[in-house]
């Protein structure tokens, strides 16, 4: 019985530990996807500027409050605009960005198909 209790305590501690680590992972993922607006070409994760440090603290607090990843992105988008996200969403301003590579790929494929396969 004692061993069982001990086992439970250890299990509890480990599961708690896992939760914490998991939060940290999400935090790193989120801050890597946020652009540090006062730096040039750096993410919030990489930067040590005042602005980036405040953002990191805020991401931490939001995660503690139980915000999901996309909710945090929406929050920052509302404050600073689309520019703060490194991974832009598909909307009327960015559809060219998303669709052009696919379009070029298809056209290129069509040209190759035409000149190599149908010629024979």
């Amino acid at each position: 019985m004692k061993i069982l209790k001990l086992f439970f305590i250890i299990f509890f501690i480990f599961s708690f530990n896992h939760l914490k680590a998991n939060n940290e992972e999400i935090k790193i993922k989120i801050t890597k996807n946020l652009r540090c607006l006062v730096c040039q070409g750096q993410s919030v994760y990489d930067s040590d500027s005042e602005f980036a440090n405040s953002l990191k603290v805020l991401v931490d607090k939001k995660l503690e409050k139980g915000f999901s990843e996309s909710q945090i992105y929406d929050y920052f988008k509302d404050k600073y605009g689309e520019w703060i996200l490194y991974d832009p969403e598909l909307n009327k301003n960015t559809y060219l960005l998303w669709l052009l590579p696919i379009l070029i790929f298809l056209i290129g494929g069509a040209i190759i198909l035409k000149s190599f396969i149908f010629k024979k």
Partner: protein, 172 residues
């Protein structure tokens, strides 16, 4: 005929890509925040500088008056420059100046105010810089003109004579 069509097609694609890149070349990649006006005042709770009370943002801007929220810090050099403008604005009764002390120590902030004067009706103490982010600010100094819980105008960087003139005109 077919070959010519293809050539024309390829050339037109190249021209389109060239135009896109050429336009992109002229764009600055320095972040310029979009100044969205008529946005609601963000709701947050914050600590007051002198009394250490925690106050809701809605309680600060509840009077039928113009408010100027000024983000400042004792370590910020341009804040020193704009301080005389704030002291000038304080004399107008229609407007109340709210300070947001950004990432500062109380001691330094107090000596800054005793040296240059205190134009602020109330000061929010923002040690971690979180409240400034709620406002969508990204540096110091920044100022927001507020009326009826809406942000009418946003000034990035220190207030100069011209912006003070503009504020005086707007609150008339």
């Amino acid at each position: 005929m077919k070959n010519r069509l293809l050539l024309l097609f390829i050339i037109s694609i190249f021209i389109i890509i060239f135009i896109i890149f050429y336009k992109g070349l002229k764009n600055t990649n320095v972040y310029t925040p979009d100044i969205t006006i008529n946005k609601e005042v963000p709701s947050f709770s914050s600590e007051l500088f002198y009394s250490n009370e925690v106050i809701k943002s809605k309680e600060i801007f509840d009077l039928d008056k113009f408010y100027l929220l000024n983000i400042w810090s004792s370590w910020c050099v341009p804040c020193r420059q704009e301080h005389s403008s704030l002291m000038d604005l304080m004399k107008i009764k229609k407007i109340k100046i709210i300070g947001l002390n950004y990432k500062d120590t109380k001691k330094n902030a107090e000596s800054f105010l005793s040296e240059l004067g205190n134009p602020f009706h109330q000061i929010i103490f923002d040690k971690e810089g979180i409240n400034a982010i709620e406002w969508g600010a990204y540096g110091v100094p920044e100022s927001f003109l507020i009326y009826d819980r809406k942000i009418i105008k946003k000034y990035i960087g220190p207030l100069n004579k011209q912006s003070i003139k503009e504020i005086k005109f707007l609150i008339k």
